[in-house]
Symmetry: D2
Subunit: 156 residues, 4 copies
């Protein structure tokens, strides 16, 4: 199994990312994660400009995000993303947001995605060259047994 792609990017918290609680809005973090996911998709051979042309897009099927600490206006945030798991028509990405200056963990997120052809909304098989990122069976079985019940319900 080849080591799965990882990316790392950085954003600075802008006014439009915050709300009147004085900290970053829970919704804004999902934009940060989408930036990281896009870079990760490019690593995997899915460039944005091509998606726009051939109308094949990765779509988010499930998001799980945990907010650990609050980030503030002006904070430099590091977003790290990696391909966590590849199935036949679905894949999981994992993301972590930390504050640059003190390495504080801000948020952790997992997203399950699928490839869809629009406008029909047709579900596509994942690219063959992603096979190399699939774990072997034993790893998969092991993970399966640790998998949260809620995931099972949603992904099968």
């Amino acid at each position: 199994m080849t080591v799965a792609p990882r990316i790392r990017t950085q954003v600075q918290v802008m006014f439009f990312d915050t709300d009147c609680g004085g900290v970053v809005s829970n919704i804004a973090y999902l934009r940060f994660i989408e930036i990281a996911r896009t870079l990760l998709a490019e690593e995997l051979g899915l460039a944005l400009t091509e998606m726009a042309e051939n109308q094949r897009y990765p779509v988010v099927v499930r998001t799980e995000i945990d907010y650990r600490r609050a980030a503030k206006l002006g904070d430099q945030l590091v977003i790290e993303g990696r391909l966590e798991r590849v199935e036949r028509v679905r894949f999981w990405c994992a993301f972590q947001i930390t504050r640059l200056k003190d390495n504080t963990l801000i948020a952790q997120c997992r997203q399950m995605l699928a490839l869809i052809e629009m406008p029909e909304g047709k579900l596509l098989r994942l690219p063959e060259h992603w096979e190399k990122y699939r774990g072997d069976d034993s790893a998969e079985l092991q993970r399966e047994s640790q998998a949260p019940t809620s995931d099972k319900k949603y992904t099968q």
Copy 2:
């Protein structure tokens, strides 16, 4: 145990809710849910205008959302929200988004929240009058055993 508050509201999908995939952006649904959550908070005695004054806000600690079907520009969406579970300093809300015209399930979401006093970020005990929404022990135990592993990891 008193029946926990439920609310129901409606939004129409606007241009700014969609993306170039031709359907509603995964991030936009979280705005719809925030509208429902706000109405639910009012039912629970937490009015927005008071929050702004006394700087006590409910903050989202975890979000789980499953995207079932894609909504489109102009769709009328119904968002239903309910208080699902009350703990000592945390509570869970559950949301469901359906399309009005054909009752299609669009998305399901659960959020764990806490009450925080800003700007200190101090965690507050939940209001005493919410006690009546806490399940009895047997119900709680039962639910505990069904709870997804991932929740346990994050909430304990």
Copy 3:
């Protein structure tokens, strides 16, 4: 000349509309205005659901917005919109945002729009039945002479 359509709608300020300055973000008001513009377009015979099907959309060509007072979390805002002026391939809409409880003027906005057929981006003639909203020559001339220089620059 037929009286041009006017609409009036209401929104409540949500957390995601505010920023850490404690008031509504300058960008959020443009979402409120888009809601009003959509309702106005429906009055004019351009329903959102049809736009999505036939890929003919009104696009904003210019926005002018003046922020008068700051709105806050929980405020009920009234957005009023009207068709201000119809030309051959462009039209102007005017919007006003006031706070419901004290009728305070929050923001004023004008937008110039055109009808475009996507994905070619082809500029369309405005619908014939909009002719009735065109002012007569004298009114137009009168307005022309009051028009801000900046408008002239951009629209001619």
Copy 4:
């Protein structure tokens, strides 16, 4: 008169910046401009992190934006910003958005801002060291006479 600060930054168009028309949403451009404005403010000695601490923020009083061409998913956009004019309690910034690959002009924008101390909303005098960016009287008069009528109405 010292040459006024200018900045230049770059963004890539993400899914959340587009709408179902297939191009960048008119509202998204104002986020791009806010990123540039923030960098420009830092050049002028107003760092984001300090704003959050001392609660003194630049607020947008008026925005004028012209949409020239449509940008698409994946486009690399260059945003240039400069301080255009300094008055006693107000200043104007000018922005230009171009597409990197073909230098196409996408949008032009001017914003009038003021410095405000929150939560009182008190209008502050502009920093003394900005004096050096004020034009001399003749330049100011000259500009005044060219100024669009609409500006006069709003700024006096």
